[in-house]
């Protein structure tokens, strides 16, 4: 009977240990599973983010393509047709002696046609600076500033250091500057805009300063444009800081763009 008792104790002790081990195993299973799940979810989130960024990249690329197409169409077709109109006007002037109001009309017609051609060229250039490849970022930004300078706003461009940068990333930077400048013109009510590029080692700092009403991020006034800027900045792995300058009124936007274009 004694032996039987100790056997029962043995069974119970062993059984309990076994059960505890089993329960520990099951708990471990749950913990491990959740850990793996968490890792998997993280991975998936990363994949999703990457996918999203790819989509945005594609979107921006197709936007660029579309701009190129429209720009080329405008420039080549509409430009040529306007030239045709000018040629005909010139013919009329040569064949008929124009007098008084007819001459005025001819002069005005010529002026309108000239303005139209200039506008077409300007829009085409805005849409796709064909010359960007050759001119590079600095030249293009300078041209952009000159284009709007004196039209209700004074734009001052300056550059520290100099580098010729003309690849796809540079075009993205140019697009950002273009968007920001046009934002400032449209919304800031400023009469002075400073644009500066400063080339540092491996880094480009783009700074825009205006003396306008300041930036209200929640106003939603420039939603799409700013979204575009932010997406492009993200693609460039650039740091963007939008804020009101400490002393005067207005808006200050600072972009830090890594240059690593010739490395990697």
């Amino acid at each position: 009977m004694e032996e039987l008792q100790s056997s029962i104790v043995l069974v119970i002790v062993l059984g309990t240990i076994g059960m505890l081990l089993l329960i520990a195993g099951m708990s471990l299973f749950i913990v491990l599973y959740q850990k793996r799940m968490l890792k998997e979810k993280k991975k998936q989130a990363e994949r999703e983010l990457e996918y999203q960024s790819q989509m945005i990249q594609m979107q921006l690329e197709s936007q660029e393509q579309e701009r190129k197409r429209i720009g080329a169409d405008l420039h080549d077709s509409l430009g040529s047709l306007l030239w045709g109109a000018k040629v005909n006007a010139s013919f009329l002037q040569r064949s008929i002696e124009l007098k008084n109001s007819a001459l005025d009309s001819y002069t005005e017609l010529n002026y309108i046609l000239d303005e139209s051609i200039n506008t077409v060229r300007r829009i085409a250039w805005d849409l796709t600076p064909d010359a960007f490849l050759y001119a590079g970022l600095s030249e293009s930004v300078r041209k952009l500033c000159n284009q709007f300078d004196g039209k209700g706003i004074k734009i001052v461009f300056n550059e520290e250091g100099a580098e010729h940068w003309n690849d796809d990333r540079a075009l993205q930077v140019f697009r950002i500057v273009q968007e920001l400048v046009s934002n400032s013109l449209k919304h800031s009510q400023a009469n002075l805009l400073h644009v500066s590029l400063s080339w540092q080692s491996g880094n480009l700092e783009v700074k825009l300063n205006d003396n306008g009403v300041g930036f209200k991020p929640d106003a939603g006034r420039n939603g799409v444009g700013l979204w575009n800027v932010e997406q492009r900045a993200r693609q460039l792995q650039a740091k963007i800081h939008i804020g009101n300058p400490p002393i005067c009124s207005g808006t200050e936007i600072v972009l830090q763009i890594p240059l690593h274009h010739d490395k990697e």
């Binding site: 069974v11 062993l14 059984g15 089993l22 299973f29 959740q34 793996r36």
Partner: protein, 212 residues
């Protein structure tokens, strides 16, 4: 009242909760959980019949042995529903044939069919482990503890490894110290209660998930 009988009572009553849970959601539940409902009902019926036989002094083995086989069949289909492997079905058919042969001719209905018990127990443990392994590699749900089948697999694992251990030990004891070892049945009933508990959790998880 005898302690053995007391535990037998508790054991058979422990099926009540899973039975209720199983029946409440029977119509809108998946085939695997329908089988679990049948398992708890079968288990309860077998317990009640056994209890009545014991109280009236009859041998319970014929009904207990059949229950072992029935339980094996039901649980196999539960796991088969998820694992879906042809070779498992083949093994299953062979095992069932053996169990029936054993019941009729080898160890016969009137004594405990230990072979059947061991073999089906080991097979079910392997199935549960295979199922858990699959869960781990496929990462099917976000919160694994909300998956009903996890608790079914846990219950299977605990119950069958427990009984396997018990029966092996029982055999050893009987060899060395012949006699009626009632406590074995107490322990077995404890395991049965635990198993029913796990099945109840599984059914409850399913009920909760379905009612959202």
């Amino acid at each position: 009242m005898d302690v053995t009988i007391l535990f037998a009572h508790i054991s058979s009553s422990s099926s009540i909760i899973p039975i209720i849970l199983g029946l409440v959601q029977y119509r809108r539940t998946t085939p695997d959980l329908k089988l679990i409902s049948w398992l708890v009902i079968t288990s309860a019926t077998a317990d009640v019949i056994s209890l009545m036989l014991i109280l009236n002094g009859f041998n319970t083995w014929p009904i207990a042995n059949i229950f072992v086989i029935g339980q094996f069949v039901l649980l196999f289909f539960v796991f088969d529903h998820h694992l879906k492997k042809q070779y498992l079905k083949t093994v299953f058919v062979i095992l069932v044939c053996f169990a029936l042969l054993n019941y009729l001719f080898i160890q016969t209905a009137n004594s405990f069919n230990t072979y059947t018990s061991y073999i089906t127990g080991i097979f079910l443990i392997l199935l549960a482990i295979a199922y858990l392994y699959r869960l781990m590699s496929n990462l099917v749900v976000e919160k694994i503890y909300n998956l009903p089948m996890l608790w079914i697999a846990f219950g299977t694992l605990v119950y069958f490894s427990g009984t396997l251990f018990l029966f092996l030990f029982n055999n050893y004891l009987i060899e060395h110290q012949p006699g009626n070892h009632q406590y074995m049945w107490i322990l077995h009933n404890v395991l049965n209660i635990i198993k029913n508990g796990f099945l109840a959790i599984g059914l409850w998880k399913n009920y909760k998930a379905a009612s959202y």
